[in-house]
């Protein structure tokens, strides 16, 4: 936002940073990840055009913001979902989450995450069981046309939560091996969240270009690592911080969703607190909540807090005159 470059250029750079994980996902889960992403992007862009026409606004589908939303929706849903899901998600994200509230720049919640929360509530089965085990030697068309029930796999976080550490190590390999597997992305999970390496590279590039700052990702991932280390193990201070950061959607959320210009705070200090809040809520939901993964809800819950944070840490010289006290109304 602070940079002088046009919004359009920033948006398309973000899209470019999201392409490598997408390409990799085709090799991990098969060609249908590409199809889901394409459907998602197309329906988001179409929904954007329809909403803007309906509400009598200027159609701005070229700026790429709907493309980002579409890609992110696809990135955070399981790779084996029916193709209808991203379409419905697009309606929720673009029409209800964004344009009803005033269009680009006015959404309160991150549209892609809103779509995921909506899909998880509406299709609890598909959204919690359509995980696929990574392809080993088979072709990328391996999963096309097969029934998902037959091949579904549990995500690492779900295994960890429901069956414990022993079952986790058994199904995903021994300790030193597991980090590399997770880092490269060969594990079950949502379409775009598995490869830590590519997401970090993309995120670092965005920071290098000055499109996002390091404050939110650093404080969020740091909090997740610290709290998981403290409370995530059998006894205090025996959790595995590195695994906590690499598993689930922590990295994708930290670099591409928590840093969304519109729904995150603008001030540096509030950004740090915002990141800590997301991290803490993530660990809370992961360890004690009803869901195995908490990044999505943690960011959603902190979104409305961002404007509160900004108003608390407003630089003095920009502060408007205090509203008249007393009287209440």
């Amino acid at each position: 936002m602070r940079s002088n470059e046009s919004v359009e250029k920033i948006m398309w750079t973000v899209v470019a940073c999201l392409v490598p994980p997408l390409v990799l996902s085709v090799f991990i889960f098969g060609i249908q990840t590409l199809i889901i992403t394409a459907i998602s992007v197309i329906s988001c862009v179409a929904m954007e055009a329809i909403s803007q026409k309906l509400l009598g606004r200027k159609v701005t589908i070229k700026d790429g913001s709907a493309v980002i939303t579409g890609m992110l929706i696809a990135f955070i849903i399981p790779p084996g979902v029916p193709y209808l899901l991203p379409v419905l998600g697009a309606v929720m994200a673009i029409y209800i989450g964004k344009h009803l509230l005033g269009g680009i720049g006015y959404n309160i919640f991150n549209p892609a995450l809103l779509a995921r929360a909506f899909l998880l509530a509406t299709f609890p089965v598909a959204m919690t069981s359509a995980w696929l085990p990574p392809l080993q030697d088979s072709s990328i068309f391996h999963y096309m046309g097969t029934s998902i029930d037959a091949v579904s796999a549990a995500t690492p976080l779900a295994v960890l939560k429901e069956q414990g550490l022993a079952a986790f190590t058994e199904s995903f390999g021994a300790a030193p091996n597991i980090y590399t597997t997770f880092f490269l992305g060969w594990r079950p999970g949502s379409i775009g969240e598995t490869s830590g390496l590519l997401i970090i590279l993309g995120g670092l590039y965005l920071i290098y270009r000055g499109y996002i700052t390091w404050h939110i990702p650093a404080s969020m991932l740091g909090t997740i690592a610290l709290l998981t280390w403290a409370f995530g193990g059998e006894t205090t201070f025996s959790g595995d911080p590195l695994l906590a950061v690499l598993s689930g959607g922590a990295l994708l959320g930290a670099f591409f969703m928590a840093t969304d210009y519109v729904s995150c705070p603008t001030n540096k200090k509030s950004q740090l607190i915002y990141g800590i809040g997301i991290g803490a809520l993530t660990v809370l939901i992961r360890l004690k909540g009803g869901y195995p993964e908490g990044v999505c809800y943690a960011i959603l819950l902190m979104n409305p807090v961002s404007s509160v944070l900004d108003s608390w840490f407003k630089p003095k010289r920009f502060a408007p005159p205090a509203p008249p006290k007393g009287g209440g109304k």
């Binding site: 269009g103 309160i108 929360a117 059998e234 809520l281 939901i285 819950l301 409305p304 807090v305 209440g328």
Partner: protein, 313 residues
């Protein structure tokens, strides 16, 4: 009546004073649930290796079912002989208090009895957090909406309303609890619940109004207008009804009402800051005002789904 009062007083004492005093004299220093089929006991002195490891010496049952003995599979004594881990053949139901009796531990024919339960303080905090976040009255129980949408336009209003509401609800819920426990229940007047509770709420509002007016006129000027609105908020009557339904005790009542009030304040404050931001936005004319507030509240409710199933303590 007096009995119940004394008991509550004693519980209070136990909660805050005794844990400090009791330690050091008792054989059992610390106890608690470990893994899902484990109870961990720490002794103040080294105990006999053979007797402590003998599972026949142990009798364990859940408090409401004293006749159902739980099977102790194995007892593992630490090397310093001061702490033992009791492993059971089946997972324990940790919501219940477990009573453990160990025979022959210090001397032949002696018996040591103690009970293991989740910390009561944790349970109370659980009620607070649950009422505030997990079962937030506005976003997951859908109560108090009229006032919620009416007073969430400005942050100042929201703060004033939230704080006034919290004070009134805590006072009125405690009064309702006393009435329910000592008048309605003993005399079989449960059908008068609604009348009595709404009466107590009006009374509290009147009392807060009078006291505030006399004691702190400045505060009254900023909060006074909300007092009338408080009565029209269904949360304020829902809380006494819930505590009567669940037979909550005094502390639980306090925590529930505090959580309900705090949750309302939180919801109101977040909503108001969001709505202030929306003032600048170009909202479609058909959605202006209340409809868009509903849509945003729905998005909040979606986000609050993240808390569902949360069990902190």
């Amino acid at each position: 009546m007096k009995n119940i009062m004394t008991r509550h007083f004693l519980t209070l004492l136990l909660l805050f004073v005794l844990p400090g005093l009791a330690q050091g004299q008792e054989l059992v220093m610390d106890k608690g649930f470990g893994a899902d089929n484990e109870i961990i006991v720490t002794f103040s002195q080294a105990v006999d290796q053979d007797e402590a490891a003998n599972t026949a010496n142990y009798t364990v049952y859940e408090e409401p079912d004293p006749d159902i003995r739980l099977q102790v599979k194995e007892v593992i004594l630490a090397s310093d002989q001061k702490s033992a881990s009791l492993l059971f053949s089946e997972p324990l139901n940790t919501t219940q208090t477990h009573v453990v009796t160990i025979a022959n531990l210090v001397a032949p024919q002696s018996q040591t009895t103690f009970s293991v339960a989740k910390s009561y303080l944790g349970y109370l905090l659980g009620i607070l957090v649950s009422a505030m976040l997990i079962n937030n009255f506005v976003f997951t129980k859908y109560l108090g909406l009229c006032v919620f949408f009416g007073t969430s336009k400005r942050k100042d209003t929201a703060k004033g309303m939230g704080i006034t509401f919290t004070i009134v609800i805590v006072v009125s819920a405690i009064m309702s609890w006393f009435f329910y426990q000592f008048i309605l229940k003993p005399f079989d007047l449960n059908f008068l619940q609604i009348v009595i509770f709404i009466g107590l709420v009006s009374l509290t509002v009147q009392a807060v109004d009078t006291v505030l007016r006399k004691v702190n006129p400045a505060l009254f000027n900023s909060f006074g207008v909300f007092l009338v609105l408080v009565i029209a908020n269904c949360v304020i009557i829902a809380v006494p009804l819930i505590l009567a339904d669940n037979e909550y005790n005094f502390f639980e009542t306090f925590m529930l009402s505090l959580g309900a009030g705090g949750g309302f304040l939180l919801a109101l404050y977040l909503m108001s800051s969001v709505r202030e931001r929306m003032d600048l936005a170009n909202i479609p004319p058909t959605f202006k005002g209340v409809p868009i507030a509903f849509i945003v509240a729905g998005q909040f409710a979606l986000a609050f789904l993240g808390f569902s199933g949360l069990q902190i303590f």
